[in-house]
């Protein structure tokens, strides 16, 4: 019976997607890291629910409003950063806010930014990379030089220098800068310098595909370039695209965190993952615990996402299996 079914299933035709999914499911590391990544996204999406269930919010300055929680230096009175049944991850020094909700909302903002940048960068890379690769000639030359130009920019320096400028472009300095303007400017700046690697990969892949028979055949049969790109080329570059995107996302999370750490990212009072590191670095001598939860969360998230990227690549392309 079992041998029969096996024979039967082997005869079933599968799309590359189904094959990939089957291979991925067999990879235990991939599944575990995938679950971790999903967990982080769930935390981000469900942040308001978590905050509601837990009964705290990220804005209230508990330590400053209720006497007895912070000492005269603004540090939590209780050991281990003020962890107790009331504040599970402790209290933030100085402002006395709840660390758990700060972290949960911080993850939410970070993931939102990273996801938006990844989507935008991937779309840009597809558009420009495939255009360059498929059209070739002058268009390729222009786009490739443009990519070179952008790649020559020192990233961090550019971010640090341009973020405050971009923000002031949109807002009268006398007015309070709305949070969405800051978020949008971070997304824009990261996006502008974030799509080139993928763009180049896609250009290369497209150039190789362009000369293949099935593309020639489609051309001969009179398909429009748009149709060729959509139906012939895109499905064939999905795997490098997806793999690259899974590497890009944690990268954008850490870059955004680094910007906040340097003080040019999101500002108070928007909860932010990166700023928690800046505070942690400031207070580590007196309150080491504060750094623990955001730090561990960040490490776990980045490692899981990178492992997931590896597994996705392995699943798409079994020949590179180690």
């Amino acid at each position: 019976m079992s041998s029969d079914t096996q024979v039967a299933t082997e005869l079933v035709g599968r799309s590359p997607g189904q094959l990939m999914w089957r291979r991925f499911r067999r990879d235990r590391v991939g599944v575990v890291s995938g679950c971790v990544v999903l967990f982080f996204f769930a935390v981000g999406i469900l942040a308001p629910v978590i905050s509601w269930l837990y009964g705290k919010d990220p804005q209230t300055r508990y330590g400053q409003i209720e006497p007895g929680l912070l000492n005269e230096f603004g540090y939590p009175v209780k050991p281990n950063g003020g962890i107790d049944g009331e504040f599970w991850f402790g209290l933030e020094p100085f402002l006395g806010r709840d660390v758990l909700t700060q972290l949960v909302y911080g993850i939410r903002t970070s993931l939102l930014i990273a996801l938006a940048v990844t989507v935008l960068a991937t779309l840009t890379a597809i558009l420009l990379g495939i255009t360059a690769g498929y059209l070739g000639g002058k268009a390729d030359f222009l786009i490739s030089r443009f990519i070179d130009l952008l790649m020559a920019f020192p990233n961090q320096l550019f971010f640090v220098a341009f973020l405050p400028i971009v923000t002031t472009l949109f807002v009268d300095p006398r007015e309070e800068t709305p949070t969405y303007v800051r978020v949008v400017s971070i997304i824009v700046v990261l996006w502008v310098l974030g799509w080139m690697t993928l763009g180049r990969i896609l250009r290369g892949a497209t150039m190789a595909l362009r000369e293949r028979e099935f593309v020639e055949a489609a051309k001969v049969s009179g398909a429009s370039p748009w149709r060729i790109i959509r139906k012939e080329l895109l499905p064939n570059v999905v795997s490098p695209m997806l793999v690259q995107a899974t590497y890009m996302l944690p990268n954008f999370v850490t870059t955004a965190a680094a910007l906040s750490f340097l003080g040019v990212g999101l500002v108070e009072p928007t909860p932010d993952w990166g700023r928690m590191f800046a505070i942690g670095a400031e207070v580590y001598r007196a309150d080491l615990t504060y750094m623990f939860f955001p730090g561990v969360a960040m490490v776990v998230f980045v490692v899981a996402f990178n492992l997931l990227g590896d597994s996705v690549r392995d699943a798409f392309d079994p020949k590179t299996n180690r």
Binding site: G68, N71, E72, Y75, T254, P269, A281
Partner: protein, 606 residues
């Protein structure tokens, strides 16, 4: 003085590396200590004692050498860790605390403030034989120079040098120094004093004898149109230290000044280091204010407060002979320093002259009830926590520093000391009475971490009380320029003020005289109240310092209770560590830091 202390702990280091270390050791002990608000003023550390009065010393007390510090021994090298390198060496350009603390080692004026072994303060004659002889109700002050006083090039100091030093402060290139004496001599406010002697002494013009008289080589007479009871204090400022008539190289004097005090510059590398060695032409027998025990000072710049605190805590090698004048203990290290007895005995603590306030723009927020609502709502703990907690300051009830004579302890009309977290309910009631719930406040702060953090608490608490806060930020460097504009468009902003000498006359008039409202002036709240103006004029006429001090404090009460254009937040404190082989590191209330004239090196045994 509007120079404000900067405490800022910016740490380098990668976040990821740190998290790695944390995986290994992720526990920390509790912050410990009592909860906030316990004890008198929320400050766990002891405050300095209130000053009774400062005496103007006579000729006997102004005779050198300075009273010996117990157990002190001369010799050795003292290392000083500072953050900012002085931008000016010309005494006439020196006003800020970081510059004047170093310059006091090199420059002498007619008078000086001395703290004696009992912690009593007096204004002594420094280059002059006494603190000054007033006549004509304080409109005329006569000084006589000591004998055997010389500049570091060996030339004797005469009354011509005093005349020159005073006259050159009118020169257009001297713009950073204090302006009290010039304004008194010219009897004018603002920058109008410059019209008295537009080019300084350099074009052959001099002040007439009716203003400044030098009848012989050793006598100097100041003539003022109004009584100036505070002249001996003003003359003790480094800004009025002497500059020789012959050696004055005008603008170039800022690079290579001569010295009249115990030390001269051997080498100065701006932003890096400065070496001071003994001035062989300084005679201790003429100097009642400086002990000058060390042979040498090695001053290095560019130390963050975090860096200097860590080094002084570790107390290794040369750092055992180190101290700092202006780098307070940073907030990150404060809990450790305060809880460890080893650091306690190497810690000098006291008040700085600065009082932090929240200024309310009186031209825009015209309803007193709304201003009172702001006062009730403001969370003092939120602001002070951001600025270092108990090491950063102590909650303030009034505008007059505890260092000043006349200060009344426990003055607290809005109950802020007991309620540092703010009283949102009381504020909301007041807003409802004024029918102003939802009142929109434009709030500006600067982008430094501390101020941004304080702003979160301020905005949060005000909105809780029923205000709508429109918060914006400007870079720290342009902050005071931004709020100094009369038509600034903002409603509330923090402003700090420190007295220039131990008299409230340097606190109330500059900040609250309604006739002084102009761009860049110090009346940041733009208050123009008839009673304040007339009281200022009246109290200035009072010649008895103790009576004047009481009257100033009464005026402060009127301002805080009935005008309320500045809500007192906290009195700045200073906490400086020193190495284990530094002796005589006593806190000096007049300087707001360790008394550099009394320190000595503890010589190694054997």
């Amino acid at each position: 003085m509007s120079e404000r202390p900067q405490r800022r702990a910016r740490l380098a280091g990668a976040a990821v590396a740190l998290t790695g270390a944390l995986l290994l050791s992720a526990c920390s002990s509790g912050g410990g200590g009592g909860p906030e608000g316990e004890g008198s003023n929320g400050g766990g550390t002891e405050g300095a004692e209130t000053l009774e009065a400062v005496t103007f010393a006579d000729a006997e007390a102004s005779t050198g050498p300075a009273e010996e510090v117990p157990d002190a021994t001369p010799g050795g090298t003292v290392h000083v860790l500072q953050e900012t390198s002085p931008s000016h060496l010309d005494p006439g350009q020196i006003y800020s605390a970081a510059e004047s603390n170093i310059a006091k080692l090199m420059q002498r004026g007619l008078t000086a403030v001395r703290m004696d072994n009992d912690g009593e303060y007096s204004v002594v004659g420094d280059l002059a034989t006494d603190s000054g002889t007033p006549s004509d109700d304080g409109r005329t002050w006569t000084y006589t120079l000591k004998e055997d006083i010389h500049f570091s090039d060996g030339s004797p100091i005469t009354s011509a040098d005093v005349r020159h030093s005073v006259e050159r402060t009118f020169a257009p290139f001297l713009t950073y120094g204090p302006t009290f004496l010039q304004q008194w001599l010219a009897n004018s406010g603002g920058a109008e004093y410059r019209e008295l002697l537009p080019e300084g002494p350099y074009e052959g013009d001099h002040l007439p004898d009716s203003v400044l008289e030098t009848p012989d080589e050793r006598t100097v007479v100041f003539h003022f149109e109004e009584p100036q009871a505070d002249l001996p204090y003003a003359l003790a400022m480094v800004g009025y230290a002497l500059v020789p008539e012959d050696g004055d190289t005008r603008e170039a004097y800022d690079q290579e000044p001569l010295a009249s005090g115990p030390y001269v510059i051997e080498e100065f590398r701006p932003d890096r280091s400065m070496t001071l060695v003994r001035n062989e032409h300084w005679d201790p027998a003429t100097d009642p204010a400086r002990n000058a025990y060390p042979d040498r000072y090695e001053i290095t710049f560019g130390h963050t407060t975090d860096d200097s605190t860590q080094r002084l805590m570790a107390d290794n090698g040369d750092d055992r002979y180190a101290l700092t004048f202006n780098n307070g203990v940073d907030p990150g290290n404060a809990p450790e320093v305060s809880s460890n007895a080893e650091y306690q005995e190497r810690l000098a603590q006291g008040y700085q002259p600065f009082v932090a306030t929240m200024a309310i723009n009186a031209e825009r927020v015209t309803d007193l009830k709304v201003r009172q609502a702001i006062a009730y709502a403001l969370p003092l703990n939120g602001v002070l926590n951001a600025y270092g907690g108990a090491f950063g300051g102590e909650y303030a009830g009034g505008l007059i520093s505890p260092l000043l004579p006349g200060y009344e302890e426990g003055y607290d009309p809005y109950g802020k000391l007991a309620n540092p977290q703010g009283d949102a309910e009381r504020a909301r009631e007041l807003l409802e009475e004024a029918d102003a719930v939802g009142y929109e406040l434009n709030y500006v702060h600067h982008t430094a971490t501390e101020d941004a953090r304080a702003a979160v608490a301020v905005e949060d608490a005000l909105e809780e009380a029923g205000f709508v806060v429109n918060r914006s930020e400007v870079p720290q460097t342009s902050y005071y320029d931004t709020i100094g504009i009369v038509d600034n468009g903002y409603d509330i902003y923090r402003s700090n003020w420190g007295h220039d000498w131990l008299s409230s006359a340097t606190v109330i008039p500059p900040q609250f005289d309604g006739r002084q409202i102009q761009d860049g002036a110090n009346n940041y709240s733009h208050v123009d109240d008839e009673r304040i103006n007339s009281e200022i004029d009246r109290i200035r006429q009072i010649t008895d310092p103790a009576e004047a001090a009481t009257e100033w404090f009464e005026l402060n009460k009127y301002i805080v209770e009935d005008v309320l254009t500045q809500v007192p937040l906290y009195y700045y404190k200073m906490n400086v560590l020193h190495g284990s082989l530094i002796g005589g590191a006593d806190f000096n209330d007049d300087l707001g830091t360790v008394d550099m004239h009394r320190i000595y090196v503890i010589q190694d045994e054997g």
